[in-house]
């Protein structure tokens, strides 16, 4: 035991004998928090992927509440159990680091998915989409919906969520640099902590504090649903635009009643699936996580590890009245 | 007292052979009592004889293990307080049981408040009814006031009003006079007699024999949890009753011995507390017993509290053995040699759930510390020594004081203060609710302490005690000292005059 983090090189030596597929490998998923519908879809894909990729046992463990430190004991227990691959969506990029380092010292491969850890602490990060793409699609949607001008606000999840903050950063850059958006003004960023009631009241507060608000971006499934619920039950329905990242099943009624016109998301199941395949490739020694490594994610085809150990799953989909009934997640 | 036929009156209630145990403690072995309509029965017995336990059985608080109950000619059993109430039994307990957050009126009528047409409580009528009751008792009290902060005497008066308002067929009073002064006692007796004449049966418990002899028609005596005998009051002497109670003869009640007076130990100068008392000055010398007399509410307890530092003082100074005492600091008072036996042992004197040993040693916790850590064996030893000296009836040093009888609890309080070997001992109502045997023992003890050079300030509402014990009597009235009487000047008349004659105030 010891040091804060291990150098990336160390993981190579601890890896299994190169190339030969392990048949008794174990994999454990540690989502941000159990009992979250989005997570559930991701994990559904993950479990199927793990089976298809050849893991002998698949486990899902995780905290009931998404606080920074709550994942650490789970990682510890997995380290002790000798799990071969840990797939984690970090609540805090750094809080889990030393625990992950210990897991790696004990021989586990670490795949971050959904929300990245500090890059030093994992082998690869499976990202839904290119972070910038996600950000741009949301600014584009909101711009369309408010007619290219007016005040907008962002309702995010927790203040520290790595993925959220990265998207928000890109959105802000985009709004500042893109001449098409010069009349759009971002007036507030608020956090609903991925809690339905809290997000609901944050949305309400936004509208009261900013009477001229034209649109809201909520890049989190809980936030967008709660905001939609508030809008649909208030006088702002149809007057204030809402977009962001949502689950079609949660958003269907709001799209149909006109509260929301368009929103985006990738296929969460694919995210889980690719993560499982990446984990298997790491355990087998097929890849080490350096840029240029390639692995096959079953039916989803070949994926390449990019700079910084990044693996991209696929482009986001935009959902609206026309296509939403085709999706079931 | 023309009630010669009283024992032929209808039997209102009888209890035979009631037994009550608390775990291994036998609180009552043979509780037997017979109450007839239109009589006042007194119940006498030493501390721990089981009187209060018997009362609680009559009240339905405790279910007896065995025993036979007959009320109005019918066998019955009280499973709850409501059962006994339904049978017309009303009880004033030894310790007042008021609800401090409720108004005085509501305290009296709780559970049976008058209702208006809507079925809701009629607060106005309730207050009016309460005011009527107080008028009948002759006490000025605001029925709308919250009961919080009332003196024990006032609380007891409310209890009495409550019991009377129930128009009970059977009224049980467990030491109702312990907190009352002469005038209030007289008033209570007047009410009790009129209730009796209206046909109620009254059970009255008191340790004061003059009250017992004055009020009762018959007297039942208990000892060690058993029934001993019942006498007609007019046929019996106090000596006989005392013999029944203790099983032996008791000599003088107040064995006052002369002690040589030494230096001034406690000096109080122009002490004042706004709205409560002012200009209180006196001295107590080593070996001297000074009694602070007065009517209930005269401010005696408040003076003592201010001296000891429980309450802040607004003016004046207190000096112990030549050293000025800082205000509002009881620990400093203890360190400089004051001990204070408070009037309410249950709330102020004891930590009820702690053992006898811990309670006794609580005042000495710093003395038993070695390098900051307490020596538990020395603590127990000291506690045992003092408990033995005071003859506390307890099965072990580890028994919780809550399971002792009132008198034995008082002994533990005394033990805990005597263990500090104080220079000055303030005793507020030293024998409140204490039986004769213990009482004379407490008096002997106080004398002995004075004999050893302790300065003693005694607050007492019992005139005989004051006159019998004190070297000097200070009389308070309405927050002022109205008289300083030497032992030979102090007579019941002179004390009462100073305690009541407000027009003579000239200090």
């Amino acid at each position: 035991a010891g040091g804060g983090t291990t150098e990336p090189g160390a993981s190579g030596s601890a890896g299994a004998s190169g190339g030969a597929a392990k048949t008794d490998a174990t994999i454990t998923f540690i989502p941000k928090q159990l009992n979250n519908p989005y997570t559930d879809v991701v994990l559904g894909g993950g479990k199927e992927g793990a089976k298809a990729a050849g893991f002998a046992t698949t486990n899902v463990v995780g905290p009931l509440e998404a606080s920074a430190s709550s994942q650490v004991t789970f990682i510890n227990a997995e380290t002790q159990a000798g799990t071969n691959a840990i797939v984690i969506a970090a609540n805090d990029p750094d809080a889990v680091c030393s625990a992950l380092a210990e897991a790696r010292t004990a021989g586990a491969k670490i795949v971050a998915f959904d929300s990245d850890t500090n890059p030093d602490c994992r082998d690869v990060f499976i990202s839904q989409v290119v972070a910038k793409d996600v950000a741009l699609i949301q600014t584009k949607l909101i711009a369309q919906q408010i007619g290219g001008k007016g005040e907008i606000a962002i309702l995010s999840a927790t203040a520290n969520a790595t993925n959220q903050n990265e998207w928000i950063k890109f959105m802000e850059e985009d709004l500042a640099s893109n001449p098409e958006y010069k009349d759009i003004k971002l007036v507030a960023k608020v956090y609903g902590d991925d809690d339905d009631a809290k997000s609901f009241q944050e949305a309400q507060g936004l509208l009261q504090a900013h009477p001229n608000l034209k649109g809201i971006i909520s890049p989190t499934t809980v936030g967008i649903a709660a905001t939609a619920r508030y809008l649909s039950t208030s006088e702002y329905k149809g007057k204030v635009a809402l977009t962001g990242l949502g689950l079609p099943n949660e958003m269907r009624s709001f799209v149909k009643d006109g509260t929301v016109t368009e929103f985006a998301l990738w296929d969460p199941a694919q995210l889980g699936e690719v993560s499982a395949y990446a984990a298997k490739a790491l355990v087998d020694g097929t890849i080490t996580g350096k840029a240029g490594d390639k692995f096959t994610a079953g039916a989803l085809g070949e994926r390449t590890v990019e700079d910084g150990g990044l693996v991209i799953v696929g482009p986001p989909t935009v959902f609206n009245k026309e296509n939403i009934d085709k999706y079931d997640f | 007292m023309q009630h010669s036929t009283v024992y032929e009156n209808a039997l209102a209630l009888s209890l035979h052979g009631a037994m009550k145990t608390f775990g291994p403690v036998v609180a009552l072995a043979d509780g037997t009592i017979e109450l007839r309509a239109g009589e006042i029965m007194a119940l006498c017995g030493e501390n721990g004889a089981g009187k209060s336990t018997l009362v609680k059985i009559l009240a339905g608080v405790h279910a007896p293990d065995t025993g036979e109950f007959i009320v109005a000619g019918q066998h019955c059993s009280f499973k709850s307080v409501a059962d006994s109430k339904a049978m017309g039994v009303s009880v004033i307990y030894q310790e007042p049981t008021l609800f401090p957050d409720l108004s005085v009126a509501e305290n009296i009528f709780i559970g049976r408040q008058p209702k208006n047409r809507l079925g809701l409580i009629d607060h106005g009528r309730m207050r009016k009814n309460a005011a009527t009751l107080f008028e009948r008792l002759g006490v000025p009290m605001d029925p709308a006031r919250r009961a919080e902060g009332l003196s024990i005497a006032d609380q007891q008066l409310i209890e009495i009003a409550k019991a009377i308002s129930l128009d009970a067929k059977i009224l049980v009073m467990d030491e109702p006079t312990a907190a009352l002064s002469g005038v209030e006692v007289d008033r209570l007796f007047k009410v009790a007699r009129s209730l009796r004449d209206a046909g109620a049966a009254i059970l009255f418990i008191s340790h004061r024999f003059n009250e017992v002899m004055d009020l009762s028609n018959r007297i039942t005596v208990m000892r060690d949890g058993r029934y001993i005998d019942t006498h007609l009051t007019r046929d019996v002497t106090v000596e006989r009753i005392v013999r029944d109670m203790v099983g032996r003869d008791v000599d003088t009640l107040f064995p006052k011995t002369e002690a040589a007076l030494g230096e001034t130990v406690l000096a109080v100068d122009k002490l004042g507390r706004k709205g409560v008392f002012s200009n209180i000055s006196f001295e107590v010398r080593a070996g001297e017993i000074v009694a602070l007399a007065g009517l209930v509410g005269a401010g005696r307890t408040e003076v003592a509290r201010a001296i000891f530092g429980i309450d802040k003082r607004d003016a004046g100074s207190v000096t112990v053995a030549g050293k000025a005492l800082p205000p509002g600091n009881p620990q400093a008072a203890i360190t400089s040699g004051i001990g204070f036996v408070p009037e309410d042992r249950r709330k102020q004197g004891l930590v009820m759930d702690l053992s006898v040993a811990r309670n006794t040693a609580l005042t000495l916790r710093h003395k038993f510390s070695r390098f900051g850590l307490i020596d538990g064996r020395a603590e127990k030893r000291t506690a045992a020594t003092w408990s033995r000296k005071l003859q506390v009836k307890t099965s072990s040093m580890d028994q919780a004081v809550s399971t002792l009888s009132g008198g034995n609890q008082q002994k533990v309080v005394l033990a805990k203060w005597l263990a500090t070997e104080p220079k000055v001992l303030i005793i507020d109502e030293p024998t409140r609710g204490i039986d004769v045997g213990t009482k004379s023992e407490v008096h002997r003890l106080i004398n002995e302490l004075a004999g050893h050079g302790m300065a003693i300030l005694m607050i007492s509402s019992e005139l005989p005690e004051v006159l019998g014990m004190a070297d000097r009597v200070l009389v308070m009235h309405e927050g002022l000292i109205t008289a300083q009487l030497d032992r030979n000047e102090a007579t019941p008349e002179s004390v009462m005059y100073a305690a009541t004659a407000s027009q003579e105030k000239n200090s």
């Binding site: 009631a197 009261q208 | 409501a82 709205g275 200009n279 009541t500």
Partner: protein, 350 residues
């Protein structure tokens, strides 16, 4: 009684000016609810001046809706606190009932709404009864029991719901509209809550059983000696509190989008805080349902108004904390002053 005047207690000057009829204004000024009400009114006025939107129809509606659930919970909690007990499990009860409501509608979308309300109340009552039973039967402190059931009920909710959440879209529109449509300018669920609170307030101040609760909290031992059926009354308080939490759970499902395993977690301390701000003494014996309800409104309003005033959101929680402490301080100072007055008025002229 006309005994000689020198023989009486001579406390005549004491009760002067303190007759049974205290003046109306005086009584009003002594109301424990007064400070919190003044604070609420002042807050609303100041906020409205700064941001007129605050009292727009939508703003009003939101304010009322926000306070509705907390108001019910605080009123119920008051009943329990007055008896010198506490119920920390209300958040978990609310969660279970809210999820139950979602479940009912997703499997039986046509269930009549009043029936669902009754089922929710009954469900809450059962859970509250469980708390009450344990507290009175085992004679153990309710803080420990309900801290235990806080965990147990939450655990059950997690086990039952798992990752499943029910969304507003699964519920009948009419049900959701309870928190949208207004009657007399009040959203229906708010109206419901207000009626419940008023009934409870009348019960607590005007019914013997209600007064018994105060007596119990004032001195439980005395209440027992007096023959009040303490167990039954305390049990009832828990039961009613549970029912109100149940009702709040159903209303929660009407108003919010998602109900699931974590719905309502962490509410308990907010509820207690609302009661305390509303002047309910934490050790029982005093405080009113109305006060608690106003406390709940105040706590909810302060969050809204800080947002409306665009106060940095990082400061908001700190300000709520300061408010709670101020409320207790004011209450304390008032009672100290009252005690001092009593000493000086009832005491003598020395």
């Amino acid at each position: 009684m006309s005994s000689p005047s020198h023989g009486t207690l001579n406390r005549a000057p004491a009760s002067k000016g303190l007759g049974p009829h205290t003046s109306g204004l005086g009584a009003f000024l002594k109301l424990r609810e007064l400070p919190v009400t003044v604070a609420l009114v002042a807050l609303v006025i100041i906020t409205t001046i700064a941001n007129p939107l605050f009292l727009s129809p939508q703003g009003m509606k939101d304010l009322m809706l926000n306070a509705t659930i907390m108001m019910l919970l605080a009123a119920g909690q008051t009943m329990v606190i007055v008896t010198r007990n506490i119920d920390l499990s209300v958040g978990s009860i609310l969660g279970l009932v809210a999820f139950g409501t979602g479940t009912i509608f997703s499997s039986m979308p046509n269930m009549p709404i009043p029936l669902v309300l009754l089922i929710g109340i009954a469900f809450g009552a059962v859970l509250g009864a469980f708390n009450g039973l344990l507290t009175v039967w085992a004679k153990v402190p309710s803080l420990v029991i309900t801290l235990g059931t806080l965990y147990v009920f939450r655990g059950l909710n997690n086990a039952w719901a798992g990752p499943k959440q029910h969304f507003a879209g699964d519920r009948p529109e009419a049900f959701g509209n309870l928190s949208v449509d207004t009657v007399l300018g009040m959203p229906i669920i708010t109206l419901l809550a207000v009626i419940v609170v008023i009934i409870l307030a009348i019960f607590m101040s005007g019914a013997r059983q209600g007064r018994d609760l105060y007596a119990i909290g004032s001195d439980p031992e005395a209440a027992k000696l007096f023959g009040i059926n303490v167990s039954r009354r305390v049990f009832t308080a828990f039961l009613i509190n549970g029912s109100l939490a149940g009702l709040a759970g159903v209303l929660y499902a009407s108003r919010f989008n998602a109900v699931g395993a974590t719905t309502g977690s962490g509410l308990e301390l907010d509820v207690v805080a609302a009661a305390v701000v509303g002047g309910v003494a934490i050790f029982g014996g005093s405080g009113t349902v109305i006060g608690a309800a106003i406390g709940a409104i105040l706590l909810n309003t302060i969050t809204s108004s800080l947002t409306a005033l665009r106060v940095d959101k990082f400061w908001q929680q700190a300000i709520v904390g300061v408010l709670i402490i101020t409320a207790i301080l004011i209450d304390r100072l008032a009672s100290l002053r009252h005690a001092k007055n009593l000493r000086e008025k009832e005491g003598r002229n020395v």
